[in-house]
Symmetry: D2
């Protein structure tokens, strides 16, 4: 449920609503817009309580039930576009932001060369995997901690923010000390343990779409991050699994306007898996 | 199999190859490029004959087996992009071509208004369905012959080429008397009877992708049109069926570069089904 | 809309309902059960007329709108299971019926041998394709008319009913002179021209599921057959297209109970495409 | 690579092979069959070494590369069916084993009643979820530790083994103290951190198929469990995501014979998600 307060509602009015919500054992999130405050009520059985319970409180303009499974990611809770700012680089705004780099960090030479190429090409953020979620236990799993150290080194040398994947909730602290943006990969989109840990870290995060998850499931997974108070969430469309076999995945370009309509979160596109050809991804921004 | 002749091969050399092919009971198609001629050998059991049979003939440069199921639609048979020209409007070239109009022709007023809007918006080709392939027999099946007459009238009045769907092989002559471009719909992409009839008509045709057909199946279906000598074939990506349910279909944008790579045929995009929101489609051209 | 008449409704009462329906320009189908008659109203805009128009007529017990896209195939129009009887072999009843035979008829020897094996194995119906809908125009398209003649010969010799595919509306008469059951293949499930022709023929028909069509689309396609008065319709689940690539198609076994619930039509299963291993199919009957 | 030893190979011969493997930095798993021993070589770059390196060693009969991405789950590494035995109940053998119970443990009364019904119905194993992986953070996540305690109580009272889900690698020890079988759910099939932890626990485990993962990916995920030395792995087909929308998932029954052919692991079927109607699953065994 969403409780919309009147313009200029007093702190006392807001507190009264919050206390009433908590009396049911529910959580609350406040969205303080420039003009008015919206109180999101979060709980597993809010459907059993009448909206009137809150509608009668002073300063309340309206109370609405959110019918979609996702709440905090929805435009109903937050109408304006969310922006995520990384060292002054704004993601979700009008400027196109390009993130590029190797799939896996392999050596200092490789990463240095990549960073230089990325900078030269005008991209703003360096990407490279230290931990790789491999489908087989017998595949190279990344340089792991050594890869993180290389990322830290190159990041400092080139003064460029880095994004790197985190695959284990126990690694979140370690990875976020180096990473400017954490990446949650497609296979972990519904790894709720990991999402909760990344949410608690408050570190900016790119949540890649599960390759067979619907837009609704994706936004509901984002709620796990947002529910822990991490508002720096960026969605990344990277292609879905379909019957088509000439490409590894089919980039679901139609998902972008759907997300723009229903969610306030910024969404970027990773075309590399869809076509299997280029390892870069581009912010869709507003354009 | 593809037999590539030397630059400047004589007619006699080409005829010799053709006769040798025909002696096996196979068909032949000649692609006379600006520089050299390519002979496509078409038959159901060409795999049982050695390429040497043709390689030894005078004027032959190379003989290649086409491993893909599609032959005439492949770049191996024809390396240069095919262009389809409709009243001077070139589809498959550098200029963006827009086709627009109502899903179904409903009345003279509606079609007139649509034609005016289409012209005003700078679109080049008017689209409208007289015959509609409806999933239920109890749905409106289009104005049929009366719809065709309206198309003819409006086409003349606005001097704009029209594209309209054909659903029955017995209608091909009737429809192509009015239509500048025939449209074969998604559900008929593998209606081989209809494809053969449209192929024989030699009328320009837009072949929409079956909503669950692979790119390979689509190009192989195009071979049915090309095999009858109809070279004015335009492909149209219109979205595929996936698990995603926030859009009716998922526009498979990744298919465009795949087709550009493997086929010489022009491909356009119909974004209306993918998003379910706008009824227009745009030539992808070379851009 | 479905108009249910009282038990023992007179012919006059029924005629009155039928005439009222026709006055709107709609079609009608009567289902005369052992106890009572149900009048199905068939038209493209029945939603615009109140059910009261029919509810007030004498002998009418109830008037219900059918919310599903399919009408005649639904249990709402006909509550009891439909049986299709082929030379005394009942399809859709308690006995398991097996149909078997080669994919394509190739020669008299092959078909004779197959028929003998089929009989010896206790199967009841011989299957074999004379017309084959091939994805490439350069593949073997079946023996066509010569194949039909072989089927006629072997059918008489072994006194066994045959099922064979029809791919072109213009062939329906020719094929149904030999076939005891026509088969409409997966790629033609939404070839409405063909469905209408097969419907008019009144010949028993197996309607295979389009490999990417939903159960709802499949039952709606069956309506095309039923709307022409052909009640001898058998559905055949043969596998759907999914992302899984270890089998050519995934047999959608879950579809059987869904169909049993929503439709009165018998449904059989063709496991050959799903596994790509055995070319036989089995009646699911009630078991 | 698979090194097959001669019948009656000595321990010394086997040790020599193992040491040679380890000299490359690779891991090794021994399958000691009743007749002969097979040495599986596990490493990320085995493709760079010639099979001859091992073929020349004494006692070696053959050396084969495994071309499939999965190794330990393949029949090439282990030809005979694997059986998993739970308190004398054999899974993967000829007897049908039924596991049943509520989706989530809700209360002692509910679980007691369920256990009684399960026993009365002749099922062998009680199922119930204490930890539930919910798509929304605002849904009921299960009774968690309290649910485990209820399972322990009811298990003892009814003397019935229990299976319950584990969702977090940090819970594996806690859950396996109560559970006779751990369950890894569909959304965690590629949660490699969790798989590794469950592998290390050596506790019997049911690995449910990711709802959009191929059979190949599924068997490769099983390798994560097997690589840690946990041989008590049971696969569970529970339906895949397809375009069909009349059921929540489509039970991929065709996957069972594929797995039986390529893997030695037992596979069971959970029909509850496919149809969305009954919450029980059945061993496919050999029947």
């Amino acid at each position: 449920m969403i409780v919309e307060m009147r313009i200029g509602a007093t702190q006392e009015e807001i507190d009264t609503v919050v206390q009433r919500v908590r009396s049911f054992g529910w959580d609350v999130q406040l969205n303080r817009g420039t003009e008015k405050t919206v109180v999101a009520i979060l709980g597993s059985n809010t459907g059993q309580v009448s909206t009137d319970v809150f509608a009668v409180l002073p300063g309340v303009v309206s109370v609405t039930r959110i019918m979609k499974p996702y709440k905090l990611a929805s435009r109903e809770v937050k109408a304006e576009d969310s922006l995520v700012s990384i060292n002054g680089i704004e993601i979700g705004g009008k400027r196109i932001v390009v993130m590029a780099g190797p799939c896996a960090v392999e050596s200092e030479e490789q990463l240095t060369e990549a960073a230089r190429a990325v900078k030269d090409a005008g991209a703003s953020i360096l990407r490279g995997g230290a931990f790789k979620p491999r489908t087989s236990p017998f595949s190279f799993q990344g340089l792991e901690q050594a890869g993180l150290e290389l990322l830290a080194k190159v990041k400092e040398r080139f003064n460029i923010p880095v994004i790197t994947e985190v695959v284990d909730s126990r690694h979140v602290n370690m990875v976020s000390r180096v990473a400017d943006i954490l990446q949650v990969g497609s296979r972990n989109m519904q790894n709720f343990t990991l999402l909760t840990a990344v949410g608690k870290s408050k570190c900016p995060v790119v949540l890649k779409r599960g390759f067979s998850c619907t837009v609704t499931e994706w936004l509901t997974a984002a709620d796990y991050l947002l529910a822990e108070g991490n508002n720096q969430v960026i969605l990344c469309e990277r292609g879905i699994r379909t019957f088509e076999d000439s490409t590894r995945f089919s980039l679901d370009i139609s998902a972008i306007p759907v997300i723009k309509k229903y969610s306030h979160l910024p969404v970027i596109v990773d075309p590399s898996h869809g076509t299997g050809r280029r390892d870069l991804f581009t912010s869709s921004g507003d354009s």
